[in-house]
Symmetry: C2
Subunit: 306 residues, 2 copies
């Protein structure tokens, strides 16, 4: 059967709708206090990638922020399948948010008086950067402003506190680069807007262990390193190590593995994604094609009436 | 004539509507990256309080975040008057936001490719805490988690990065208190969710100068101290000073001056708002009643058709 909403479908607190109709009240704390957590899973070739892991992380994020909706993980899984089915998309970007809601006006304006609820949507797959940049390599800068420390906002609980990221994105733009990487207050590498960072030195891969979102694609890359016999260390990565690396690459649900060819203008590996990066990138997509950690979407059943 | 929308009116990018119809797309970066700045001005007895200052601060916040909408300050002023007129409210809480928007799907997902726009709404006046707490005094705790440092997100540019505040609000609730006050990483007082903090020691008032939103009501209190001949220092306020204070009070657009009678369970000034607090609170409302820094709303003109 035909897809109902090929440009995107959304779900809000029990109801399905075209993504263009999905909106949130301007008075809602999910927006006004950014009191919300989220996750994003990709669909490729008609299958979710590592949906279990995304659902597990999403649940942990919700619990961390005390944002517990009425839906169980099993409800969420069923809903996400249904969302993608309604778009008919074989490649999709699927976001799920849990918002605080807001307190009824007769109660104290405290989050404890609000009722959290779920929102989700599926749209055509989103790439972190366009194809040209993925092929030729991304140009990064080291941002002037540090990442929000984890003592203030836990980055492992995925959140929309992006003002530090956004500011750094403008700085990158001003300097003619594509994206920033942010440091912590000690000068160690954390992450960039929507991606984790890896440094390759003398054939060894390293990626930060703290102050970051533990990306699902990052986890996949760490596993791939093991499969390919590449040493990979998860630990503090000082800026100097990044500056001196033979190769740098990033990982993201919105693009997999993407090579970085410039850092603050310095050219890496002849201005082309390096050999370790290329190997990991190829393996990533090959394994995914082979069905690695996939969960197929059943596009066949007639869509249930609402 | 009768008010059109007594429960609240909203404006989004050129259009007026009842507040219940005002919403933002779930895919919009104002929500998804909390890429938005805002301000809130109060209307009391049919007049805006310090609207000039709010507009000036709002403009500065917008420029800081590179969120520049098409409306001039004069356009915003006219729009806010119109908003309140449409509600007919004599006491109102008036919020104005500038959101990033989002990049068209054919362009790179960078904020530079989005078109910022304005949203505003006027609803019945909102109190930070209910009357009982305002009269008897607020119970504060010192939050375990620090405030997001200004090196990461500038607190003078008003923003919705409240996860640190929200977490601390839950901690306050867990401990049977009403609200938290957050420290910076050096252990100095910053602010609480929606308010600035003042300590009174030996008849002298002190309030933090850094790591805070420079509240308009905070500014009014500093001026009031001068009018009343109370010494007031704007400087670093260490936690020890707050703990040892004779009186503590907070200032907020949503309530003016509110006394604090407990800090981490310790009782201040016999569990009642202290004399300096009471004097400032009374003066605040008396001056406002007398029209201090007011800008009256003209409720008479027929509302122009859209």
């Amino acid at each position: 059967m035909d897809a109902m909403w090929p440009t995107g479908a959304a779900y809000i607190n029990g109801r399905f709708m075209p993504v263009g109709e999905a909106s949130i009240p301007v008075t809602e704390w999910g927006y006004r206090r950014s009191d919300v957590t989220y996750d994003v899973v990709s669909v490729w070739d008609g299958a979710f990638f590592r949906l279990d892991q995304h659902l597990k992380r999403f649940r942990a994020s919700m619990e961390y922020f005390r944002l517990v909706p009425r839906e169980s993980d099993s409800d969420i899984r069923t809903m996400l399948h249904e969302l993608v089915r309604r778009t008919g998309l074989r490649e999709a970007y699927v976001a799920m948010d849990c918002l605080r809601g807001s307190a009824p006006t007769n109660l104290r304006r405290h989050p404890v008086n609000a009722r959290p609820y779920l929102l989700a949507y599926a749209v055509p797959y989103v790439w972190l950067v366009p194809q040209e940049i993925r092929e030729q390599g991304m140009h990064l800068i080291v941002a002037s402003n540090p990442r929000i420390p984890e003592e203030c906002v836990n980055p492992r609980a995925k959140n929309f506190h992006w003002a530090d990221m956004t500011r750094a994105m403008f700085e990158a733009e001003d300097k003619g680069a594509h994206n920033p990487v942010l440091l912590d207050f000690a000068g160690n590498v954390t992450e960039g807007p929507g991606f984790n960072v890896f440094a390759v030195t003398d054939g060894k891969v390293a990626t930060p262990d703290r102050g970051i979102l533990e990306g699902i694609t990052r986890g996949a890359v760490i596993e791939l390193c093991e499969k390919l016999g590449l040493p990979c260390e998860v630990r503090t990565v000082p800026l100097e190590e990044l500056r001196g690396a033979d190769e740098i690459f990033i990982s993201s649900t919105a693009g997999g593995v993407i090579g970085v060819t410039r850092l603050d203008g310095r050219i890496l590996s002849n201005d082309r994604p390096g050999p370790v990066t290329a190997k990991l990138g190829e393996s990533y997509w090959r394994f995914r094609k082979e069905g690695w950690c996939n969960e197929a979407i059943d596009y066949d059943p007639a869509i249930a009436a609402e």
